[in-house]
Symmetry: C2
Subunit: 244 residues, 2 copies
C-alpha cells in the first residue's frame, strides 16, 4: 500500500464546495469517483482545505491510499482523463504513509480578486467580484497592515465556526492593483471559516471610506463577528497554494 499526494486545481463555479455532499456535485465527490474507477478500488481522498461552494483552487492538496501498483506519478494524467474539465490534477507523487494534510503545519495562500469599475466585464464575472463604486487601495493597504501577525481572529470568522482556538498567524497580506483588478493576497498558518472572505469584505468597506484603516485594531480586540465587515462572495476567491 502507498499514500499518494495530489495537487489539484478547479473552477468552483459548478460545485457545492470541496466536501462530499449526498445530493450535490462536489470536488471531493468527483475525485473519489474518478480515482475509484481508475484504480478499481474504493478511494476516499483526504483534503487539506475544504473550500466553500463557488471558491476556486489552483493548488489544493489531497492524499489517498492505494493497493495498486500504478506509479504515483502516472496517476495525475490518468485520472485527468476521467475528471470533468473544471477539475485538473496538476501533480501526483508518493508521500509517507502517515502524512495527513490537515494534521501537519502548513502555510496556505489565497488570492481574492475584485473587478473595480462601473460596469462589469462578462469574461471576468466567474473569477472576480465586481464592485462598481471606487475603492481606495492605499487605505486598504494601510488596514491590511494591522492584520498581519498573530492575532485572535474571532471577529473575522463566521459565527458558525466550530474552532475553539481562533488565534491564527497571517504571514503576509498584500493589496495590489493592476488595471481595474484589485488583488488581495493572503498567506497564513490556517484560516477560520470564511476568514479570507470576511477580511476581504472588511477591506472593501475601508476602501470605500466606511471604516478607517486603524479601526482594524478595535475589530481584532473586540472578538465579535459583528464588528467586522460583510462576507465577500465566493467567486472572487482562489486557494493558490499550500506549503507543508
Amino acid at each position: 500500500m502507498k499514500r499518494v499526494k495530489l495537487i489539484i486545481s478547479y473552477d468552483g463555479t459548478a460545485y457545492a464546495g470541496w466536501q462530499l455532499q449526498p445530493k450535490q456535485p462536489t470536488i471531493e465527490g468527483k475525485l473519489n469517483k474518478a480515482l475509484s474507477e481508475l484504480l478499481e478500488e474504493e478511494i476516499a481522498v483526504i483534503g487539506a482545505s475544504r473550500t466553500d461552494s463557488g471558491v476556486h483552487a489552483l493548488g489544493n492538496v489531497a492524499v489517498f491510499d492505494t493497493e495498486r501498483s500504478m506509479s504515483a506519478e502516472k496517476i495525475c494524467n490518468a485520472v485527468n482523463q476521467r475528471l470533468p474539465k473544471d477539475i485538473r490534477v496538476q501533480e501526483s507523487y508518493e508521500v509517507a504513509p502517515d502524512f495527513h494534510p490537515r494534521r501537519v503545519l502548513s502555510k496556505k495562500t489565497y488570492e481574492y480578486r475584485i473587478l473595480n469599475r462601473k460596469i462589469a466585464i462578462p469574461t471576468e464575472r466567474l473569477y472576480c467580484h465586481h464592485v462598481y463604486y471606487p475603492l481606495e487601495v492605499s487605505l486598504m493597504q494601510e488596514a491590511a497592515g494591522y492584520l498581519i501577525g498573530e492575532h485572535d481572529f474571532r471577529s473575522f470568522c463566521s459565527i458558525k465556526t466550530k474552532a475553539g482556538d481562533t488565534v491564527r498567524i497571517i504571514y503576509g497580506l498584500e493589496v495590489s492593483k493592476e488595471g481595474d483588478i484589485i488583488k488581495i493576497t493572503i498567506t497564513g498558518n490556517g484560516f477560520l471559516y470564511n476568514m479570507v472572505r470576511i477580511i476581504t469584505g472588511t477591506l472593501m468597506k475601508v476602501g470605500r471610506g466606511t471604516y478607517a484603516p486603524e479601526s482594524m485594531r478595535d475589530m481584532l480586540d473586540g472578538c465579535n463577528r459583528g464588528l467586522a465587515g460583510p462576507t465577500a462572495p465566493p467567486n472572487g476567491l482562489t486557494l493558490m497554494k499550500i506549503e507543508f
Copy 2:
C-alpha cells in the same frame, strides 16, 4: 428619431455567435430583445463584427435607431438590467443618423490567448486555448513579422468566405508571453472569415517547429487555404476594440 451607438462586451461561451439565429441564443438576439422591451418598440441592432460561436468581446459595436426620448447615455445602464450577466453594454451615445458600423473605415483589434503548459488550468479554460506541448515564442514572433502590412490573405481565410477581395492590412501583430500565457494581439483594417483563428493556428505550428517562420511568405503568395495551419478554437479569441 436618433441613432444610438453601443460598446458591448460579452462572454461568448453560451452563444451561437453574434448573428441572429432562429433557434439558438445569440448576442444580437439578446440585445434586440432587451432593447425592444426597454424602449417598447421593435429594435434591430446593426453590429460591427459578427463574431463566431464561442468568441468573446470586450468592445464590439452596434447601432440602432429609436423614436423614444430616453437619453442615449442612459440606455447603457437601463438595458444592462435586462441583459443576462454574460452580456454588458459598456457605453451608449448618440451618433450621426447615417453612421453604419460596417460601412465606414475601421481598425479592429483582436487578442488570442494560449495557455501553454503541460496540464490545463480549469479557471482559464473558457478564455484560453490550452496547448500542452512547448511553443517557441521567438519563432512565432519572427513569423508574425511576415504578415504585417497589406497582403492578399486568401490562404488565411475559410474557404466558406464570400469576400471577393481578400486583400487586408494588418497594422500590428504581436506575440508576447507572460507566465504560461501567450498572447497574440492583432490589429487590422478588417478580417476575413476565421482569419485571426487561422493566423493563430499557423503561428502555433511555427512555434512547435512544424513550419519555418519564413514559410509565411509562401503561404501568402500561394493564395490557397491548404497552405496555412489549422483554425484555432474560438474560446481563446476576444474582440478587444473597434476604432472608427
